[in-house]
Symmetry: C2
Subunit: 357 residues, 2 copies
């Protein structure tokens, strides 16, 4: 099978706390799950090549390209843009821009990935700011939450656009025809919250966007599954995401202790372990790894930096699905419908050449 028929995903081999070992082990898992995937792998050849040798099947569908540099996890986004032109992350994003790959997955520096992807791939017309979205497990199924950290502060129109993008993302990824949309606030009353939240709510009540705006929701509504989409600024969204992860981890630990401390607990576990494993699978943070950068002309997926190969494989799965379901084309359509702008096909415009010094 030629690479043309495959879904090519660009990978930043140097991103994440554990670097190439984790990335390649994850790619190997993804390659088993998606027989039609192939990879363009960017990284320090000297470090990556020996690791790739460990995965002969992966090696068959992977093209390794040397990148002399990489982006440190604490590098400022502005510096990453200027100093990281020869980094594995930048090269991987360039591959999407140039049409060599359909999407890019990185577990590296979130701010640098966002800034570089925004600069190289450019924004979908009419969208002012990109947002990070991911899927959360809820009491009713699953929901989409955004922004999870791309924007520390957001104005009302940013929040409105997040709602529009999140709703289309929800339709594409979760198959909900007309998603219900909630705006995260510290109370459901009309008068609560920051000015920008109140203004965003009044715009959303008027604008006939894809989906159904239902009003304010609170932190507990995320996991309750009150709405299919929860919209918030990047600071609060990031805090919420990590608070959820932390709570799930605490409860899993406590559960483990409950079953191992007494002989009755141990016997109980033997009987209930199948049901418990099913439950564990449902809330496994690795299952929900893979956050999408919405609003860019190209699919860019951020994996948690501290994930393991299983989690990274899931992030690759998100990228694969989004390409497969033509998600970005659907966002372009929705934006064109509201803002009446020209729809441009992703990956065709030359913008990387205009890079400033």
């Amino acid at each position: 099978m030629s690479r043309k028929e495959r879904t090519v995903i660009a990978l930043d081999a140097m991103g994440g706390d554990a670097g190439p070992e984790m990335v390649l082990a994850g790619a190997a898992i993804a390659q088993e799950r998606y027989p039609l995937v192939s990879f363009l792998l960017f990284g320090d050849e000297e470090k990556v090549k020996p690791v790739l040798e460990k995965y002969p099947l992966l090696k068959e569908v992977t093209e390794l390209r040397h990148a002399p540099d990489y982006i440190a996890s604490d590098l400022k986004p502005s510096l990453a843009l200027r100093q990281g032109r020869k980094s594995s992350m930048r090269y991987a994003i360039n591959a999407v821009k140039e049409g060599e790959a359909k999407s890019i997955v990185s577990a590296g520096n979130t701010g640098a990935l966002m800034a570089t992807a925004k600069f190289v791939l450019r924004m979908i017309p009419s969208i002012d700011r990109p947002a990070i979205a991911t899927v959360f497990p809820t009491n009713k199924g699953e929901c989409v939450v955004l922004d999870l950290g791309a924007n520390l502060e957001c104005d009302a129109e940013n929040l409105v656009q997040f709602a529009m993008m999140g709703s289309v993302f929800c339709s594409a990824v979760l198959g909900v025809a007309s998603p219900s949309i909630g705006l995260l606030n510290i109370g459901v009353e009309e008068m609560k919250g920051h000015d920008e939240i109140r203004t965003a709510a009044s715009i959303l009540r008027e604008r006939p966007i894809h989906g159904d705006f239902v009003g304010y929701v609170e932190g507990n509504d995320i996991m309750a599954g009150t709405t299919d989409v929860v919209v918030t600024d990047g600071f609060s969204g990031n805090i919420a995401l990590k608070a959820v992860e932390g709570t799930a981890r605490l409860m899993a630990n406590m559960l483990r202790q409950a079953f191992s401390r007494t002989i009755f607990g141990k016997i109980g576990y033997l009987f209930a372990c199948r049901a418990l494993k099913k439950m564990k699978l449902r809330v496994d943070p690795r299952r929900y790894n893979g956050a999408m950068f919405l609003g860019l002309k190209g699919v860019c997926v951020k994996s948690h930096g501290g994930t393991d190969p299983e989690g990274f494989a899931n992030a690759i799965g998100v990228a694969y699905d989004l390409v497969d379901r033509k998600f970005n084309e659907r966002i372009c359509d929705e934006m064109a419908r509201h803002y009446g702008c020209d729809e441009e096909t992703p990956n065709t415009e030359d913008s990387a050449s205009t890079e400033g010094k």
Copy 2:
């Protein structure tokens, strides 16, 4: 035993989603737990009296005082101040101001409670803004988180003062001699976050406050128990608190399902139920009900509006403990130590009489 020897707690009988029924049932539980407590109960006599009749033991230690009005849950704080002068909430707070009660507990409108308590009780000298603090269960034990919703936006000095108050609160309530303090952010790197967070961090690195400032923490660090105190603005804190609650509830639901769906699950539960009940008790949101308004000259505790009697009894317990451990006196000492201001004894100054029109 005379009322003088008891710890008198003022209760707002009309606050909370379920009103006097929930409040009085909660007080009845608290009265069993704290033989030295007595209550000043404020509310609509016609509605409260028949409920009080149901609890003869509670009635013995309770003085019911009629309040013709109450604060609706959606009333703006500014209106609550102006229109709520004859409300149960206001009367209960006045009782603390006038030294009749040592503390006040309400499950009513948070904003109104904060505004009224701040206006009537006044701030401890040198503290610019009050904060809401509560205790969270963590992987290592417990931690204090603040602010949970008193201040939508905070400047650097506000955050620094929250750190100082939170640290003293942690010592008083959790008995930690020198609490470790973390500032909630979306990354642990130096350059991340809003300006005010970065400025607060640099002040905290210099100022020799009670406790030990360790730097930034993230949302997952709350439940991991990375620090004894987590400091944040009221918007993010409220989102985090409710995200944690929602996650705990989701996992409890899933666990219940796992044990009830199959016969093996049910048998497993029979063996493990003792250990599981112990675990449930540890993360029960009712156990952690009762948030303290820090920074006021008087102990003011807010109960969750949707709690049940068990939860409300715990909020009363928080108020009781704080009075018992002379928490407010300790905060005054810490502030006086840093800002060199005159220390004033709570409940002595006449400020309610200066109320504007």
